[in-house]
């Protein structure tokens, strides 16, 4: 090992490690400690924002595996979240299934829905697949509204407050711990799924699906796996969302959210686990900014300004990132790190 001049990898295991230096371990541990102690010094409002961020992170990880790694673009992610959310809500509210059973059931249901709507992906790609997933979003929401006797239709469905064993998760802090733990597990899993055989197959399919097939990657197998994994993530996020509000309604899974999750992925950087986290956090913060500025603007300009500001902001952010930073915040983050690693000889690379 070098004497303070740099990090040198001598074995394959070191080369493949997620955390490559003591400093990275330290930062990760410090971040986790800060995250899990935040209920002690954060206001309720801050906790709500952080909880929503955690749910968005889980959802975007799923979309990242499906779209960022496997290249199968999905604009129906909110629809798959709705499948997960409603399944666990129905199990909990109508059948009295405990929360910790309902959540994985919801995830599996969303994964199954993903498999069904992923079937067209075996024949089509690009724009055609986008249309198929948009169709999935609308068909799912319509079906939920139709099955009124089970789902409550447009009236929504009240869900009993979640509890695990004897711990009620009704307080904001308790639910925050649950969501953050789930988000951390989701992140670790996402980071590792893409380093497995399946993950490398996903990347091969994304880069050139025909070449991948010729080299022996089974498209049938891996495309459907990507859909299943991505939608299981969506299902977990959907059930967490429903149980947080103790209420399920189709308004919680609008089409615009599907677009916005893809926006988070673009802003964060596709095909990067860090990017998924960065994107979800950055755009949720932007959302908060819009909800803070909106009322001021509404009072100053016109009553509808708040609603339109949100829409215009969403669109502009996506376009600006596509034109000026197509590789997202994750790439920018790597550039900053490289700059400081080489400092003061920053022009070397």
């Amino acid at each position: 090992m070098g004497s303070g001049t740099g990090t040198f990898h001598e074995t394959y295991a070191q080369d493949m490690a997620v955390f490559r230096s003591g400093l990275q371990w330290g930062i990760a541990v410090a971040f986790l400690v800060l995250l899990f102690t935040s209920p002690f010094f954060c206001s309720d409002r801050m906790l709500t924002i952080l909880t929503m961020m955690g749910i968005a992170v889980i959802s975007v990880h799923g979309l990242n595996i499906l779209t960022g790694y496997c290249g199968q673009i999905s604009i129906g992610h909110a629809g798959f979240m709705a499948v997960g959310g409603y399944t666990s809500a129905i199990l909990a509210a109508r059948l009295g299934v405990p929360f910790w059973v309902a959540l994985p059931c919801g995830a599996l249901a969303a994964g199954t829905a993903g498999l069904i709507f992923g079937l067209p992906s075996l024949k089509i790609k690009g724009f055609y697949l986008i249309m198929a997933t948009i169709a999935a979003q609308f068909i799912i929401i319509w079906t939920i509204l139709q099955l009124r006797s089970i789902t409550g239709g447009p009236d929504g469905l009240s869900v009993p407050p979640p509890r695990i064993g004897n711990i009620a998760l009704t307080s904001k802090a308790n639910y925050f711990y649950l969501v953050m733990a789930a988000a951390c597990v989701a992140t670790i899993l996402a980071k590792n799924i893409v380093r497995t055989r399946a993950g490398r197959a996903f990347i091969a399919i994304r880069d050139n699906d025909l070449a991948a097939e010729v080299m022996g990657v089974s498209l049938w197998n891996y495309k459907l796996q990507a859909f299943f994994i991505g939608c299981v993530y969506a299902g977990v996020a959907g059930s967490l969302l429903v149980h947080y509000f103790s209420f399920a309604s189709t308004d919680m899974f609008p089409f615009m959210d599907s677009v916005w999750y893809l926006g988070m992925l673009i802003v964060g950087g596709m095909g990067s686990t860090t990017g998924a986290v960065l994107g979800a956090v950055a755009l949720r913060l932007l959302d908060e900014l819009v909800t803070m500025v909106g009322p001021i603007l509404s009072a100053a300009v016109a009553p509808q300004a708040a609603a339109s500001l949100g829409l215009i902001m969403h669109g502009l952010v996506i376009i600006i990132f596509l034109i000026f930073e197509p590789r997202g915040l994750a790439h920018r983050w790597e550039m900053i790190k490289t700059y400081f690693r080489l400092w003061p000889f920053s022009h070397q690379e």
Binding site: A135, W142, Q146, G263, L311, M313, I318
Partner: protein
């Protein structure tokens, strides 16, 4: 039987409007290989522009139409120059996301300018009523049918007999050859976006004249996608035929099945069901070219 015929005829007229909107989509796709998700939002803007020029400004119908088309041309130019030009050569996903973002921005602008409210202005378009036996053809449908047919004819003539039309057809055929003989591809792109905006806006005024302008006009764009997929994404003739088929199917299905379903609203998901079926069984549509890929 009369009920069925009535549904078919209304569907035919509606389908012609869908076809008109879908043509805008097909032209952009053929010329610049961009999938324009924002087509429905051009319709939305068109519906509200119709309200602004006909009701707020009180212009006569021809002047309102002219003003709306003028606005559409400016809109098309701006969109191409500011959003699509910087993304030339970007991957498919980036361009599609840009048009989705464009759709969001247009929706936001419509909310800001017109307050996302329902603006009715039916009765302002000229009325013609046609009665054939027991069938009566509603005047709005007839107007929509006539205007759509006129627009499609003009577009066909444009492609057949003008220089820019020839350039557009050539660009659709082979971009490199076109550039090597000195045709500006960017001009072709700009014109294709202008045409898409204009047909979208005209479709919006026609639909707005029937049912008023509201934010749901944008959903017509989704129907246009179903039309495009059914007809084959790169076929203008396919778009027309598929538009008529979808318009009829939608009306007939809604007329017979809606009373059976408790929630109703089958008309809203119908295009998506068509879409999924087409995508699974015949992804290149009725008249599209099946692309053979090589590594």
């Amino acid at each position: 039987m009369v009920f069925l015929l009535q549904l078919v005829i209304t569907g035919f007229a509606q389908g012609m409007i869908y076809a008109l909107i879908a043509i805008g989509f097909v032209i952009i796709l053929k010329c610049s290989e961009v999938f324009n998700i924002a087509q429905g939002h051009f319709v939305l803007i068109g519906g509200y522009l119709g309200y602004t020029f006909l009701v707020t400004c009180g212009l006569p119908i021809w002047a309102a139409l002219g003003a709306a088309i003028g606005t559409a041309i400016i809109m098309g130019l701006l969109i191409e120059r500011l959003i699509l030009r910087p993304l030339l050569g970007a991957p498919v996903l980036a361009v599609i996301m840009a048009t989705i973002a464009l759709a969001t921005i247009l929706g936001g602008l419509a909310t800001l300018i017109w307050g996302a409210e329902y603006k009715a202005y039916h009765g302002l378009l000229p009325t013609v009523t046609l009665k054939v036996g027991a069938l009566s053809i509603p005047s709005e449908s007839l107007i929509g049918l006539i205007v759509s047919v006129v627009c499609v004819t003009i577009l066909m003539l444009l492609f057949r007999y003008t220089k820019i039309g020839l350039a557009m057809r050539a660009t659709a055929e082979d971009l490199q050859v076109v550039q090597s003989v000195g045709i500006r591809a960017t001009t072709v792109y700009a014109v294709s976006w202008i045409i898409a905006c204009v047909v979208g806006v005209i479709g919006g005024i026609l639909l707005g004249g029937v049912s008023g302008a509201n934010m749901e006009l944008a959903d017509v764009g989704l129907k246009a996608f179903a039309v495009v997929l059914l007809g084959g994404v790169d076929s203008i003739g396919g778009a027309i035929i598929a538009g008529i088929i979808l318009g009829m199917l939608e009306n007939v299905a809604a007329g017979y099945l809606d009373p059976l379903l408790p929630g109703g609203g089958l008309a809203q998901v119908f295009p998506f069901i068509v879409m999924i079926i087409v995508l699974i069984f015949r992804p290149y549509g009725l008249f599209g070219l099946a692309r053979i890929e090589r590594i």
